[in-house]
């Protein structure tokens, strides 16, 4: 039996995922009638510990990033509404990169019965995902409120950051920039307060796709929230962002190097882009997105039910 929501009272919402990647996408402080708590859970992680933690928290709603890593039947007896948030790129029809094929195979491992609804971070993968599980709606991964900061004066020289694992595609694009500029590349393992502080010590952020296929990485909105000048490969979908206005689009290694050279010589040249990007980031703010999303989720289940119940 699901815990009843007191009329007008707060909802306890559990967020579960690998901390390194997803804590930054969650709601981390009470907002909009939600009381959040984050639970570490990763592929091959301790499912019993997750379940025990959830039973102690007694959430009304559980949001799981990468629902495909939740073991079969784990939420069968869980008395809460469950929402799976698909966070990985997938093939979009036609020939697909081997990396996307691998991710689709992982998604096929999902136990659909664990969840009441699924959200995809990218509307352009919804059709592919629908072959495995029903997609209720699509929206980009939100950004935790703690990452939001005012646009600060640019350092001299600008402090440049790339947060993301190394892949041949990324290293190819980064190589000339790494040779010519001071560029901090954090490949893995920074999260929480450490990540917030890291972002606040930098002015310019780079976003590159894993491999040579289009996507929209949540680090874009996270860096915009932090007031960074974002240099990114072409984003698809754009989720409302405008290249050249909210961020700078780069197409090649030499363009990235050139863009960094320009901003190093003229640190204020793209100040307006930073300001516009920071404004647009408000659309990703966790305390705005989750209350509406979860209200819609509960209303939808009230109206249309769930195959899980």
């Amino acid at each position: 039996m699901r815990p009843r929501r007191p009329h007008g009272g707060p909802l306890r919402v559990a967020f579960a995922g690998q901390t390194t990647f997803f804590e930054a996408c969650s709601l981390q402080a009470p907002a909009g009638g939600l009381i959040p708590r984050f639970f570490e859970f990763r592929a091959g992680g301790d499912a019993d510990a997750l379940l025990a933690g959830l039973r102690e928290f007694v959430p009304h709603v559980v949001v799981v990033y990468r629902p495909e890593v939740v073991p079969e039947g784990l939420f069968g007896e869980l008395a809460a509404v469950t929402l799976g948030f698909l966070s990985e790129p997938l093939p979009r029809g036609g020939p697909a990169h081997v990396d996307l094929q691998r991710r689709l195979r992982e998604l096929e491992e999902a136990d659909v019965a664990n969840f009441d609804r699924f959200v995809s971070f990218d509307p352009l993968i919804a059709a592919t995902a629908e072959a495995v599980l029903p997609i209720w709606r699509s929206l980009p991964l939100p950004v935790a409120d703690r990452f939001f900061a005012p646009v600060a004066p640019m350092g001299h020289p600008p402090r440049v950051l790339f947060v993301g694992r190394s892949t041949p595609h990324r290293e190819f694009l980064l190589a000339p920039a790494k040779l010519e500029h001071d560029l901090l590349h954090v490949a893995f393992g920074v999260s929480g307060t450490e990540l917030v502080e890291l972002l606040h010590r930098h002015d310019v952020a780079i976003n590159l796709h894993n491999e040579d296929y289009p996507s929209f990485e949540n680090r874009v909105s996270m860096h915009l929230a932090a007031g960074h000048l974002v240099l990114s490969e072409a984003l698809d979908p754009l989720h409302g962002l405008e290249p050249g206005i909210d961020f700078l689009q780069i197409e090649s290694a030499s363009e990235l190097r050139r863009a960094l050279s320009v901003v190093t010589r003229f640190p204020r040249v793209h100040h307006r882009v930073r300001v516009r990007g920071r404004l647009k980031a408000e659309g990703f703010r966790a305390s705005r997105v989750y209350p509406r999303l979860i209200a819609d989720l509960l209303a939808d289940i009230d109206a249309f039910g769930s195959s899980r119940t």
Binding site: G44, S166, P176, D182, L183, L184, V186, A187, A253
Partner: protein, 276 residues
């Protein structure tokens, strides 16, 4: 009392900065000039003219041009250290390198007064006694990724607390990062023998060093002052043991820290660079 030795060090701070004292140490007055391979030498030469060193030490034999060595009127030494670069870097079409080597005129070993083949020293200010950084031991990997490195690390990244910084860490941020971890993992780019450029740094920082077998060992003793691993599974298992009982490895950390004294900058440079 003799004058301190004035030394100008040349290289990239993100790769070799930990080998250059940022504060005055006995017998040595150091200055550092950031210089990347292929860059014009004007800034380097201006720095040398301003600081008037007794000797110049260049990290990486091919970092500067042959003519630049000749343009410096004090002895120029090279410290033979491999640049920390991702695989394929030398073949990148947008970089001033090619399969034949540098774009042209880079110095070779014969151009220097001397070439030093030793582990990188560690700046005195980076020495720190072993101590627990947090409740759950956290491991650090510094250096560019490679297919081989990722094969060794991937399981540990998903099962343990592991921070991987690929490039650009230096100065205070480097010191703060070293202070935030308990374990350092040193993995080579290829299957050949070697002694990582940051091995001495990790020991000086008081970290538990987990490394592939070192060759040459430069006086270090596996099982005594550091631990060896030869596979991804061994690394996962070892990190699990460290996590379960961090204090069981304190003696190894302390022995490693003592061994690092052999790499202390204020000891190495005056001995090595003083006029004979």
């Amino acid at each position: 009392m003799s004058e301190p030795l004035r030394v100008t060090f040349v290289g990239r701070a993100g790769e070799v900065g930990h080998a250059v004292p940022a504060v005055a140490v006995d017998g040595l007055r150091a200055s550092f000039v950031e210089h990347r391979a292929g860059a014009a030498p004007a800034r380097l030469l201006a720095h040398v003219a301003e600081h008037a060193p007794d000797v110049v030490v260049v990290f990486g034999v091919g970092t500067i041009q042959r003519q630049t060595v000749r343009d410096i009127d004090v002895p120029v030494l090279a410290w033979d250290v491999a640049p920390d670069r991702p695989p394929g870097f030398e073949r990148h079409p947008d970089l001033p390198f090619s399969s034949r080597g540098h774009a042209g005129g880079q110095a070779t070993r014969g151009d220097y007064a001397r070439v030093v083949d030793r582990p990188l020293p560690v700046a005195d200010e980076l020495f720190s006694a072993p101590r627990r950084a947090g409740a759950v031991p956290r491991a650090l990997v510094l250096g560019h990724s490679s297919e081989r490195l990722e094969r060794l690390l991937v399981d540990s990244k998903h099962r343990h607390e592991l921070l991987h910084v690929a490039s650009g860490l230096k100065g205070e941020a480097l010191a703060a990062t070293l202070a935030s971890v308990d374990v350092a993992i040193d993995v080579r780019d290829d299957d050949g023998p070697g002694f990582g450029t940051r091995v001495s740094l990790y020991l000086a920082a008081g970290l538990l060093l987990i490394s592939e077998p070192l060759h040459p060992r430069h006086g270090l003793r596996p099982g005594v002052d550091h631990l060896e691993i030869r596979s991804s599974a061994a690394l996962v298992e070892l990190l699990g043991r460290v996590r379960a009982d961090p204090d069981a490895f304190t003696a190894i950390r302390e022995a490693g820290h003592r061994a690092a004294e052999a790499f202390r900058a204020s000891r190495v440079y005056p001995q090595l660079l003083a006029p004979r």
